[in-house]
């Protein structure tokens, strides 16, 4: 791994991302839109649910609006992170392969993309966290933001995996929207989860650990350590799969 090569690629990748106006507009508008819609359509009515990662005996009772706001925050970060990762890995795939032909290594290019994406996830999470404060104040704000970061990390790894696996953008977007919508946008909602028939299936989905981290931090004093470890491990597995596929697809045969 050559640091100078990674550094150059980081700078160029950041420039590419920064000049993608459509993506930047989405980053600003989507969380605002999600929060506004939830705020307008939910009530302050109390809802009670059990938190899967804490204990079956612990029942949390919070306002439906606050619970939904937090839940939609995780979905927003997840959606944006996976979309950005997909966009960055699929766009310019041919030019990146030309760069590899000219001397870059695929590991250097993907490391640069990952670094820039992680930075973007931090910014998105902080932005969504600050927006959340407009509507309500969670118990442990820093840990809630950490939960958002974990959601971003897991979903960016998922976005990279989708981007390296499917060739066309439309298929990629469909796979991302489907998963985020069903997983982060529906099944991980603790109100739904509490009554779900097959909880094991929901626990294996990407948004489970990050959602738990955010919800536990927002409404209880319990530790989020297990959710943290679960998120990192889940993201790492997706990332390894994405790296292997990227390496395979970008490989070149060096003439003798």
């Amino acid at each position: 791994m050559r640091v100078g090569y990674v550094k150059t690629s980081c700078v160029m990748t950041a420039k590419e991302l920064g000049r993608n106006r459509f993506a930047l507009v989405l980053l600003v508008v989507i969380p605002m839109l999600f929060f506004t819609l939830v705020s307008l359509t939910t009530s302050e009515h109390p809802v009670a649910f059990r938190l899967a990662s804490v204990s079956e005996d612990t029942i949390v009772q919070v306002s439906a609006r606050n619970e939904s706001l937090l839940f939609i925050g995780v979905a927003a970060v997840g959606l944006l992170s996976s979309f950005l990762a997909l966009n960055l890995i699929q766009r310019n795939a041919a030019v990146n392969r030309r760069l590899i032909l000219c001397g870059f290594r695929s590991s250097e290019l993907i490391l640069a993309k990952l670094s820039v994406l992680l930075l973007a996830v931090l910014v998105i999470s902080l932005y969504v966290g600050l927006l959340l404060l407009v509507f309500f104040r969670p118990e442990h704000f820093v840990n809630v933001v950490l939960g958002f970061v974990l959601a971003g990390f897991v979903h960016l790894c998922y976005g990279l995996l989708v981007g390296t696996t499917v060739k066309r953008e439309l298929e990629g977007i469909l796979l991302i929207v489907l998963l985020v919508n069903i997983d982060a946008g529906w099944l991980q909602n603790p109100v739904y989860y509490a009554e779900a028939q097959n909880k094991l299936l929901i626990r294996w989905l990407p948004a489970y650990f990050p959602s738990q981290a955010s919800i536990v931090s927002a409404f209880t004093d319990h530790s989020i350590f297990s959710s943290f470890i679960g998120s990192v491990a889940y993201g790492a597995l997706l990332l390894i799969a994405a790296l292997l596929i990227y390496w395979w697809r970008m490989r070149v045969v060096r003439p003798r």
């Binding site: 150059t8 160029m12 030019v95 030309r98 032909l101 001397g103 045969v253």
Partner: protein
Amino acid sequence: MRQGELVGVVGENGTGKSTLLKILVGLLEPTTGQVELRGSFGYCPQEMVIFESLTVRENFRYFAAAYGLDRTEPSTSYEDAKNDLLRRFHFHEYEDRLVSELSGGTKQKLNVSLALLHSPDVLILDEPYSGFDWETYLHFWEYADELRSRGTSILIVTHFVIDRSKFDRLFALADGVFRCA
């Protein structure tokens, strides 16, 4: 190919000219046989394979980094090579413009220049002058002659009949067979 030789490849659409070049540079794996290469090579694909959301300068910088030019001494050598290409192909005024804002011809100038930046020993060019205006086309051949005199071997896929007299050897690809034309 011999040193300083200019070789042309012709053939109808879909006969596999671009595939052949992709095998030569390593983008595709040959089903049989092997490619042997002494020295460095520069490759310009038929399609526009450049970063649209970066400027011309940034594209040069990115590819210079790939070739390792920005880390060689003297550090001015890459800048000199870049400025020389910008001047030769007359697109220096677009250096700080985003590629997405450029015309097709100017993009092609950049596409070709990126293959020339590191002064390779062998140049492999897939229809390099499609989209060039007449003046740039003539400049391209002037530059090709200069490179040959310096010992660079050049392989070009072409459709232009008028180019045929320029090549030392010309091959035609038809039905999967490579013949001396």
